[in-house]
């Protein structure tokens, strides 16, 4: 990963200096940022510091990478969990209803909605929402972020539109999973057995269908959450949301290796943790897995 980041064409020193500078300035900055050292040596230095929690200093801002990430983490966590909430609120009822009445009008409408959510570009949806709700109607601010602790009302107002956009996109993906897993569970032997035993349809649905359909739902929700936690660049830019996606994008553009490595490390950790949580949830939902 370290080598990959450094192999991307582009010179961070040249980028930092812009277009007007002297060769001496270039050499001095290259030396100060440690980029004149052999790559292996840079890696060893970085690794040695990284294990102690020191991810280095950004080339661009001179701030520590950890402080830059910490500054943006609350915004990213807020948006990711809010979006997942929106996604589940959309996906679970919609997916279930269309599975219960396959090929019905409801099912077809649900398919169209989820297809729409998947295919509409998120920046377009974002700008339309801004023009309507912030522009024409004037109900919501056009973007930005304030911490919950500072201004709960403002926090919620600013969260609504970005969470809706990312939530609709994720929700559309999840809806299809819910539909297919509920359909599959409905057709399984044990459901038929339960129905044959004379259990009420609500009981069958809650205990036999839903619980089995939950497993794939947890998996896909975990994947979506991990994706949201690694930042949703486009939505962050449209709504001026100071999340990790923008940080990572800026780091790529400036070839700011320390920040980019820090961000990638964090995203890897997020995937690990979410996979662990998903596995733990599996065993809670399905006791057979524990054995």
């Amino acid at each position: 990963m370290f080598a990959l980041v450094h192999l991307v064409p582009g010179d961070p020193v040249r980028l930092a200096l812009g277009t007007r500078f002297s060769q001496e300035t270039y050499d001095a900055l290259r030396e100060r940022s440690g980029l004149d050292q052999p790559l292996l040596e840079q890696f060893v230095t970085w690794l040695g510091r990284a294990v102690t929690g020191d991810l280095g200093v950004s080339f661009r801002s001179g701030e520590t990478v950890t402080s830059q990430i910490a500054e943006r983490l609350p915004a990213t966590l807020t948006l990711a969990f809010a979006s997942i909430l929106v996604a589940l609120v959309i996906a679970v009822p919609l997916g279930t209803i269309s599975a219960l009445r396959p090929r019905s009008v409801v099912d077809r409408v649900a398919t169209v909605i989820s297809q729409f959510g998947i295919s509409v570009p998120d920046f377009w949806m974002g700008i339309v929402l801004i023009l309507v709700f912030a522009g024409t109607l004037g109900w919501l601010p056009s973007g930005g972020y304030v911490p919950l602790t500072e201004d709960p009302g403002g926090w919620l107002q600013r969260l609504l539109m970005p969470a809706l956009v990312t939530g609709v996109v994720s929700g559309s993906v999840i809806t299809r999973f819910v539909r297919s897993s509920v359909l599959e569970a409905l057709g399984s032997d044990h459901v038929r057995t339960a129905q044959a035993k004379g259990l009420g349809s609500r009981q069958v649905f809650t205990w036999h269908v839903l619980r089995n359909a939950l497993l794939p739902l947890v998996t896909v929700t975990g994947v979506q959450l991990a994706y949201l936690l690694s930042g949703v660049v486009v939505v962050e830019i449209v709504f001026s949301w100071p999340g990790l996606g923008q940080l990572a994008l800026q780091a790529v553009e400036a070839r700011d290796y320390p920040v980019l490595q820090g961000a990638i490390l964090l995203f890897a950790l997020v995937f690990l943790v979410i996979n662990l949580v998903v596995d733990l949830l599996y065993s809670a939902i399905d006791p057979r897995i524990r054995r």
């Binding site: 980028l15 801004i130 601010p141 201004d151 001026s240």
Partner: protein
């Protein structure tokens, strides 16, 4: 004028509230909710977050949008015609031989940390840039010494006459004066200790906040502070301006400039800037080393059409670099868009058609991508197939540095002196002469012009050099873009500037 205002405003100083950080209700209640900021805090929507605040280190425009209001330089460009006028230096004189400049410093100036400003601070600031080879060290190339004669006098000695010294040390805040020892005492990447009208209060991933500096030598600003809010998406920035969340923005969607001109909710201004955009061809790659080929291309391109497409008309086509109206502008314009004449030139050159030409542009500056598409369509009829290569800026700079291109398009921004416009770009082996142009006559003219102290004589030298540069098509000049900014109706005291410096010192909110 400044000093009388200072007295009256200091007397009124007790009445002026200090800015409160965040919270509170916005005075500019538009239809939208949730505006923030103090009683009279100006909210400015800018396109990007500053990368850092050390004026001697950063090269980023978003940083200088903020730093312009926090730091001062010895001299400063006048907002209208950009001639250099006093700032921290009240006047200056040049020795007979042009090698010694003596600056008299302003009295009664204090830094934001309370310390007094004097000559030692100037010496420290300039030596920091020179000794540590920081970003703007190249501006001090001719400087052999910076000395404090007495606390109010600084002497700069030079290796050769440098008529553009004021522009070099005062063109923008990259050569700002910081207090002696500040780099050791403060973390200048996040803290600022200037002498300017505002102090840097805080900065995070959403906004940067400034507060009025009551002891400012020019008299405290009439507003309590400024909040720079980063809104990258132009449509969102414009919506925020229209519904009153922000008071000012320079992030206007270019395609909406025309429709905004008649809009009552927004005050929009668009004036010619000091920037220029150009195309350049690689002299080391055949057949672009052939002057006839370059001239054919320069003749085939319709600059008006390129300008219209790239900037939706908010620009002036130009065949030289310096915009019309500038003292040093040249009216030399030998090319007229004419496909037939271009085809003839190509024929004369003897190159085989169709000719393939890669044109390297970057999505960092989307207008280059649009312009390149128009250029491609204009060159196709004369037998040149243009391959528009859109790459990210890092790759672009790499390839430019390595000479790995047939042709590219880019701009030079924030030019003040003709030296900025022409010198390093066209002199043989100049640091920015990536195209590999070399003409001994141009070299001699540029050298002479760089140290000519008589303004008229200097203009004459540049005029001669420019004619050769244009005839040889070292650069194929395209246009000077406008600077476009918009603000809330009723906001007063703000002056839009050709150099895109943003100064909120005299602003009053509606």
């Amino acid at each position: 004028m400044r000093s009388t205002r200072l007295v009256s405003l200091v007397a009124a100083g007790a009445l002026i509230l200090t800015a409160c950080g965040g919270g509170g209700e916005s005075v500019d209640t538009g239809a939208g909710g949730g505006g923030s900021g103090g009683g009279s805090t100006l909210v400015a929507a800018v396109g990007a977050q500053p990368d850092q605040f050390d004026p001697h280190v950063t090269s980023a425009y978003p940083s200088f949008q903020v730093l312009e209001n926090v730091y001062d330089t010895l001299v400063v460009p006048n907002p209208e015609d950009l001639t250099m006028e006093p700032s921290l230096a009240t006047d200056w004189e040049t020795s007979e031989d042009g090698l010694t400049w003596t600056f008299t410093l302003r009295e009664g100036v204090t830094f934001h940390d309370g310390s007094e400003f004097d000559a030692a601070d100037v010496v420290y600031s300039y030596n920091r840039i020179i000794d540590e080879q920081l970003q703007n060290a190249y501006r001090f190339e001719n400087v052999t010494g910076v000395e404090a004669v007495d606390p109010q006098t600084v002497e700069i000695t030079l290796s050769q006459p440098t008529p553009n010294l004021p522009a070099l040390i005062g063109g923008f805040k990259g050569t700002a004066i910081i207090p002696e020892g500040a780099a050791e005492e403060y973390d200048l990447t996040t803290e600022a200790v200037g002498t300017g009208p505002f102090t840097l209060e805080s900065s995070d991933a959403s906004s940067t906040e400034l507060a009025a500096y009551e002891e400012y030598w020019g008299g405290p600003p009439s507003i309590d502070g400024v909040e720079f809010r980063y809104i990258a998406e132009p449509a969102a920035a414009l919506t925020a301006l229209e519904n009153g969340e922000v008071d000012w923005t320079d992030n206007v969607p270019p395609q909406q400039i025309e429709s905004l001109e008649g809009n009552d909710e927004v005050e929009l201004q668009s004036i010619p800037s000091v920037d220029y955009w150009y195309m350049s061809m690689n002299f080391a790659r055949e057949p672009f080393g052939n002057p006839l080929v370059r001239q054919a291309i320069a003749t085939a391109i319709d600059r008006e059409a390129v300008t219209e497409a790239a900037r939706f008309g908010a620009a002036q086509a130009n065949q030289t670099a310096i915009p019309e109206g500038n003292f040093f502008a040249s009216d030399y314009a030998p090319f007229e868009a004419d496909a037939e004449a271009a085809r003839q030139l190509l024929e004369e050159s003897g190159v085989q058609l169709p000719l393939e030409m890669g044109l390297m542009v970057t999505d960092e500056f989307p207008e280059t991508v649009t312009a390149a598409q128009v250029i491609a369509s204009q060159l196709e009829p004369i037998g040149i197939n243009v391959d528009v290569q859109t790459v990210d800026f890092a790759t672009w700079l790499d390839r430019q540095g390595q000479g790995d291109f047939d042709a590219f398009m880019l701009g030079w921004l924030g030019n003040l002196d003709p030296f900025d416009y022409y010198h390093s770009q066209h002199i043989t082996d100049g640091v920015n002469n990536y195209q590999g142009y070399s003409n001994p006559e141009v070299d001699q003219l540029l050298q002479q012009a760089s140290s000519e102290t008589d303004r008229e004589a200097r203009k004459d030298l540049y005029d001669q050099a420019v004619q050769l540069i244009v005839d040889d098509v070292s650069y194929l000049y395209l246009y000077n873009p406008n600077v476009v900014q918009a603000w809330a109706p009723g906001l007063s005291g703000y002056t839009i500037r050709p150099d895109k410096a943003i100064n909120f010192e005299d602003v009053e909110l509606p």
